[in-house]
Symmetry: C2
Subunit: 362 residues, 2 copies
């Protein structure tokens, strides 16, 4: 296929690299001459607007995506036009309201759920989409041949296609992606004015909750503004629960049950998050190994695990404050736990004996 990519940032350039690698003929355009030349130099395609093209992919910043889609529909009257923005409903409304009659069928919104806040062509990777969900927003009026084009491109870059309608997509990402970003940011903001002695008590729980608080502010401002109504709905629901909890912390009669319900509801919600490979959540057996935090120790550990022929499902490294010692938690399927513990112990590793489940920690 011939594919014209408009916008050669992280996503556009990564798509150019991957599609070129898959044998498609890619042309590139960006408002910035430097950006489009950089993308071309990296191997993402050829600079310039073609006479005609099979597919246009709009990969501009989200706040100009709508206008760019409309221009592309106009300029390439035979092409299928898609985009990569992480909010779909506003774009669809914008296109529907302004496109020429009949053109709406040629627009199919996409959301490849890949990315890093490290932006620009220089951060592009040809494998950015490998194994990631690629949401396609089509409806009953979408011509099958055009839908097949988008599905083929998504598949060619290694993504797993998921068909969703735009409203469902937007309300879902508000809950599983945008609200978590807000919660992480709100929590991390509470640390700004803390004395260093207090922040020093931070453990792995705080680190996990706030990890994505380090994300790019400019990108996330556009995402939250673009999905404002849906995000607000989730946040209002959270605020209602927060209000209930804050009142309960005045410890009037009945308050303890309310506090317990907050934590229990969190237990229930956590259990709904799918595990790896799209399966239902699986409980792994977790073993802890204490190691000197010196070069090569992890290498030695995992070499030994490898020799035992046991697959590691997850790993967490915890560095203790103030001492040169780390603990490594290795999650494996429960059936292999005992074997791993014995195998590592016999190879001289310091493996505590207790049976610990994977889920939950203080």
């Amino acid at each position: 296929m011939s594919v014209h990519v408009i916008g050669t940032g992280l996503l556009g350039t990564s798509l150019g690299l991957a599609l070129t690698g898959a044998g498609h003929e890619v042309t590139l355009a960006d408002l910035s001459p430097t950006a489009q030349r950089l993308a071309a130099d990296l191997g993402a395609g050829t600079v310039g607007e073609p006479e005609a093209t099979d597919v246009v992919i709009v990969a501009t910043p989200p706040d100009v995506a709508g206008q760019t889609i409309l221009t592309a529909l106009d300029r390439f009257p035979e092409a299928t036009v898609t985009d990569v923005a992480s909010v779909k409903t506003v774009l669809l409304h914008e296109v529907r309201a302004a496109c020429a009659p009949g053109d709406l069928d040629r627009y199919i919104g996409s959301h490849p759920m890949a990315g890093r806040e490290k932006s620009g062509a220089i951060a592009a990777r040809d494998d950015l989409f490998v194994g990631r969900p690629w949401v396609v927003c089509s409806d009953d009026d979408t011509p099958a041949a055009r839908l097949a084009q988008i599905v083929a491109l998504a598949t060619d870059v290694g993504a797993a296609v998921v068909h969703l309608d735009p409203e469902f997509h937007d309300s879902s990402v508000a809950r599983v992606s945008h609200a978590p970003q807000v919660m992480a940011s709100l929590m991390a903001a509470q640390l700004v004015d803390m004395p260093a002695d207090g922040v020093a008590l931070a453990g792995q729980g705080l680190r996990d909750v706030t990890r994505i608080a380090a994300s790019d502010a400019s990108l996330w401002t556009q995402i939250l503004a673009g999905n404002a109504a849906e995000v607000r709905e989730v946040l209002e629901s959270i605020r209602a629960d927060l209000d209930t909890l804050i009142s309960a912390l005045e410890l009037a009669p009945g308050a303890i049950a309310t506090i317990a319900q907050t934590i229990t509801a969190g237990n229930d919600g956590y259990d709904r998050i799918p595990g790896k490979h799209g399966q239902a959540p699986q409980k792994y057996a977790e073993i802890t190994v204490l190691i000197d935090d010196t070069p090569g120790m992890l290498g030695k550990l995992f070499a030994d695990v490898g020799e035992l022929g046991i697959n590691i499902e997850d790993i967490r490294i915890e560095h203790a404050t103030g001492v040169k010692l780390g603990s490594v938690e290795v999650a494996v399927v429960p059936a292999r736990q005992r074997e791993l513990e014995e195998g590592l112990t016999s190879r001289g590793w310091w493996v505590p004996e207790a049976v610990i489940e994977h889920e939950g920690q203080q």
Copy 2:
């Protein structure tokens, strides 16, 4: 020293194991005859109340710790009494209000910051406290000899002693431990009624933010209730920020700046979390390796890293949805990044080329 441990749950039994291992003479008591016998069978000490003891450690559930400390001060008139509860101010007030004249000097609150929500003697580990902070709440009136006893015990079980006053401790853990638990639980609770198709879009961000939402509801109810005033103060501050953001999401003029400030404040707060070994946060270079998710692959990978002599600072494994492929992010000091990338590539690993920093992701 002779040490009497009251309460043989996870913490009490773990302390018994560790202190016995360090050569101290440990006696054990628990309201449950089965629990105390189990702890003794595991090697945590001898069942029974001694005539006298150097130190009493109260390791009961937090809601009965105050009364147990008072009883211990009365029963052992020469002993230093400490406890392991994660909230200190309420206990101190309770002891101060009710203890005999002069006895207050014999009570020194502790908070060993270790634990798992997996409870009971059966989950105990003799290395539970190794490398963990052990907060000691003493004041100017605390006799040096008694303080030295508690510090010695903490050190003997491998913990790193941190001296804090109880108010500072409680307000700090409200912020770095208790509020994060609440935020994780509130976020996870939003998933309870979601359609499975929507939850399936969950990525690593949601998983991280909600990981501790799996924690034990009974323990956390006691902790939040015990530190209610301090936790409420943090949550009210978060609610104020949340209110501001919810209003901003109505997208009135000026709203975009407010949204950006929310994310930026989160960036700033995240940067304050100390890195490993109590150092200032360090940015690591992170490289991504794509692997088949089959047994032994991680073992082979880390064996190769080990051979290169490079210390792995952090690891994150991401399993793609729907495909048998995982990506492993390995964080190393920036100076070794290029060497690691080249070394792994030359050994046949699939290492994308881009330079990605450790902090932040979409």
